[in-house]
Amino acid sequence: MIRFLTKGILRDRSRSLFPILIVAAGAFLTVAFYCYIQGAEINVVRSSANLRFGHVRVMTAAYAAEADQIPNDAALTGVEALKEKLRTLAPEMDWVARIQFGGLLDVPDAGGETRIQAPAAGMAVDLLTPGSIEPGLLNLERILVRGRLPQRAGEVLIGDELARKLGLEPGAPVTLVGSAMHGGMSMANLAVAGTIRFGIQAMDRTGIIADLADIRGALDMEDAAGEVLGLFRDGIYVHERAKALAAAFNAGPAAPSDSFRPVMQTLAQQPGLDIMIEKMGLFTAILVLVFLLAMSLVQWNAGLIGTLRRHGEFGLRLALGESKDRAYLSLLGEAVIIGLIGSAIGTALGLALAYYLQAHGIDVSGMMKNMSFLMDPILRAKITPFAFAVGFVPGLLASVIGTAIAGRAIYKRRTATLFKELET
């Protein structure tokens, strides 16, 4: 009987072509979107990890409690020893120390008197040690607008917008006024090496990137750092591994009451990313559900038109002794065949597009001139094993659901009436 149905589907274009096209289109969109979301997630996760949080983030418990206030008085101390310990614990990761800091940027005039001041929010990273991975993580080459990257102690990068507001050219001297780790005011005389554009307004208006050693000196933070970030070398966040590592680290011997004990958090615990990482399954389910609903409606309609057109055929088949149950089941059988063929075609096309995006990407930097430079301007996708199956869910189900609803017409009419409709 399946052979019989398949022949019918293949020979009757109007029975097959349109429904298969719908199913294929739906499966294609589902697969392509799914892979794109996977790719986008990886992009966002990657830039969040590189710029702010690492894949895991170590801070003191006190610092972690109000990390958004940058409480450097609760910074980690003994950072070199800590990094050594972390390297032993997780040799597959890179470990970097960073200091976030706030302060006032003071621009002197020719006579050395204050000409203009502006608040600044900075990040101190290891810019100068040969082989430091930080310039690469922050993508400094690409976000540089004017000047050059720092090459000597005392050189900083500042947000291009901030630089313009303050009338600063590369090479200009600035003074950073802040508060030292153990209290008291601190001052550091710095030189602007270049300006950068993050593409994030707040950072462009107030942002500074300084060398870690300079800021340690200025803030009296020798061998201290606000945070130590760990990043998997391949750049891909693996939640299970990060979670296991954090659990192992946090289970260490330090007294839990010590508010200066170092604690490790995963990327998924960072603000905004919890949703991104942990609710991804939910997003996918919603995406698939939306496609399923939309396509079921279309298939229902296509099925209504289809069965209307085929009342004659069904009348005849019933007259020949087919039971209504069997006729209905044969319609569902056709729907399964159509769903499988359409889903297979759509999935193949979707994966082909996703593969292209994964391998080459589509450069949309032209379209995002004024958007975040921190975002990768290459549209990418990621093919996961589930991508092979995800298109079949809406494809097959929509075909079957749509037909199941439309096909009830078989039961709603007397056989003789069904038959008569073909004679007119």
């Binding site: 009987m1 019989f4 022949k7 019918g8 020979r11 009757d12 029975r15 004659g312 055929e313 005849l316 088949r317 019933l318 007259a319 020949l320 002794g321 087919e322 039971s323 209504k324 149950d325 069997r326 007397r414 056989t415 003789a416 038959f419 073909l422 004679e423």
Partner: protein, 237 residues
């Protein structure tokens, strides 16, 4: 069934609701048919011929009265039981739209056997034999659209008789055919009637069909007006 009757109707009545009124398509029809009959329903348009055939074929149900076919009371059959009765015992030939256009001649004839769940080898033998009866063995792979009207009707006959049913119901089987084709298919059906003992019941306006009948029943306004031996009565096998 009593007296070896294949069909027996008792005060069979069919009333169609029509807006506020109702149309009595069949009015207390009492008829019996024995196995092996070659009988026809004649009468003016609207006299109830199709209605009667549909009820006897369990495609429709009586409003009142009873129709007993092969021991089954049509008025009490479930959908499933009715399908089973048609599937195993009754072959249909209709005036138009007799064939499934998507399928070949061979597949159209094969369809009732697929429903019966017959084994492939036996199925193949039966289909080829049925095509032989109607002289269409050479067109097995054609689609209905590639056949003439007469050839289509012959395929429909092959499909109606391929499962060797007890009863074939044919509603104006020659209405779309020319004289030559009409005679041809009537000879075919008469041969099958003689060789297999299949009971045939026609509805027709066609004199050529009537000339082959061994029993002729005239319906007028849903009533049996006349029930007489047909022109071919003396040829009774």
């Amino acid at each position: 069934m009593e007296n070896g009757m294949l069909i027996k109707t008792t005060d069979l009545t069919k009333v169609y609701p029509m807006g506020g009124q109702s149309i009595t398509a069949l009015d207390k029809v009492n008829l019996s048919f024995a196995k092996g009959e070659f009988a026809g329903l004649v009468g003016p348009s609207g006299s109830g011929k199709t209605t009667l055939l549909n009820i006897l074929g369990s495609l429709d149900v009586p409003t009142r009265g009873s129709a007993e076919v092969l021991g089954e009371k049509i008025e009490t059959l479930t959908h499933r039981k009715a399908a089973e009765l048609r599937n195993h015992h009754i072959g249909f030939i209709f005036q138009t739209f007799n064939l499934l256009p998507v399928y070949t001649v061979y597949e159209n004839v094969e369809f009732p056997l697929l429903l019966l769940g017959m084994a492939p080898a036996a199925r193949r033998r039966a289909v080829l034999a049925a095509l032989e009866w109607v002289h269409l063995s050479d067109r097995a792979r054609s689609r209905p659209a590639q056949l003439s009207g007469g050839q289509c009707q012959r395929v429909a006959i092959a499909r109606a008789v391929v499962k060797k049913p007890d009863l074939v119901l044919a509603d104006e089987p020659t209405a779309n055919l020319d004289a030559e084709n009409s005679h041809h298919i009537l000879h075919t059906m008469a041969d099958i009637n003689r060789d297999l003992g299949t009971t045939f019941l026609f509805s027709t306006h066609d004199d050529k069909v009537i000339s082959h009948l061994r029993r002729k029943i005239t319906l007028i306004d849903g009533r049996v007006a006349k029930d007489e031996p047909g022109p071919a009565a003396e040829k009774r096998p």
